[in-house]
């Protein structure tokens, strides 16, 4: 039986696995991918030690790090359900089921849908949730980025040398991203910011041809070929029915990353930790693994 199974291999899960393997725990990691949402970031400039690193490069560094420690990894495999039985945790996945003394849930989050007409119809036909992946396909095409936070502005900055015209469509009166990013965006000549603006519809034929928005209560029609949706994240916590969650579906943890169920721990963006940042997720991952170590020691495993 495993001492610990970690579900997820983003910044939180990977850091947890490094701490766990160094404590010589009998460990297994299952994950859909390596790097999670972080792997999809463009420019990362707030991860200590790197003045600049791209998301895909950081994910590669993560992979090298766990490979060096010989972490056992099952990929791609996704958690489907989790239960406590006697003194053990049973984890069900799309490939099978496992028994472990403890489980750390580090399954992260996925992009929030805009929920407007045309979004589903034109997904991958102009509508994208990954600027890092699909951005280069919009060369010489006008695009709209929906959102006003760090992810939205990161997408905009990735596109300034690719796309001739970029609209940032922000529902709030002011962008909420870090000031340093806002300053960069304001300096670029091909970005136009539309605040107080709501997307009503995405339209086109085979591919996107434009969007209808409402700015300050007035309708506007923007002709463009790409819609990049960056309006926040939803925790990947559906499968974890047994643990307590808050109204945002985030798994509630205490200061030592314990969930409401003994033996089940959680860390990173899937939890109610205040900030969804790569470095915070890493720190939480380390905490979770050390809490598991303490838990196993106390229970004489």
């Amino acid at each position: 039986m495993h001492d610990l199974i970690i579900a997820g291999a983003g910044p939180a899960g990977i850091t947890a696995s490094i701490y766990a393997v160094r404590k010589r725990m009998n460990l297994l990691v299952i994950s859909r991918d390596i790097g999670g949402q972080a792997a999809l970031s463009g420019e990362i400039a707030n991860y200590t030690g790197y003045q600049f690193i791209s998301g895909p490069e950081l994910a590669l560094k993560f992979q090298e790090h766990i490979n060096a420690f010989g972490v056992k990894l099952k990929l791609p495999e996704e958690a489907r359900d989790i239960k406590r039985e006697d003194n053990r945790i049973r984890l069900f996945t799309d490939k099978g089921e496992y028994l472990a003394r403890t489980v750390i849930i580090a399954t992260g989050s996925h992009p929030r849908l805009l929920n407007v007409r045309g979004e589903r119809e034109f997904k991958n036909k102009g509508v994208t949730y990954c600027a890092t992946c699909d951005g280069p396909l919009f060369k010489d095409k006008a695009i709209a980025i929906i959102g006003g936070g760090n992810s939205a502005l990161d997408a905009a900055l990735q596109m300034i040398n690719i796309s001739p015209k970029i609209y940032i469509i922000d529902i709030s009166p002011q962008l909420s991203a870090d000031s340093i990013m806002i300053e960069k965006v304001l300096k670029s000549t091909n970005i136009e910011i539309l605040n107080n603006t709501k997307v009503e519809r995405i339209y086109g034929d085979i591919f996107v041809k434009g969007i209808e928005v409402e700015k300050d209560g007035r309708p506007l029609d923007l002709k463009l070929q790409g819609v990049f949706i960056e309006i926040g994240l939803i925790p990947n916590s559906d499968f974890a029915k047994v643990v307590k969650k808050n109204n945002s579906e985030e798994i509630i943890i205490d200061h030592s990353n314990q969930t409401s169920v003994e033996g089940i721990f959680a860390c990173g963006d899937v939890t109610n930790v205040q900030e969804k940042q790569i470095i915070v997720a890493c720190g939480e991952g380390a905490k979770a693994a050390l809490s598991v170590f303490n838990y196993l020691s106390v229970h004489n495993y």
Binding site: A39, S54, P56, N124, K125, D134, G135, L137, F138, K139
Partner: protein, 78 residues
Amino acid sequence: MNKQVKVYSTHTCPYCKATKQFLKDSGIEFEDIDVSVDQKAAEEMIQKSGQMGVPVLDIEGQIIVGFDKETISKALGP
């Protein structure tokens, strides 16, 4: 017999990297096409797959969108 495999990708896309790594690990030779630098290839990819997401695989004419390990394995055959 080896099937002819093309992978349309961008150099930044993690799913593309995972796809190519999977093919390499399986000992499959493939043509690696970076659509972020080759505009003509990008148009070809969009035309073939009817969509703009990467990666796209062309395995002897069968088009697969995304890193779908099982579908890819099936298309490659035994």
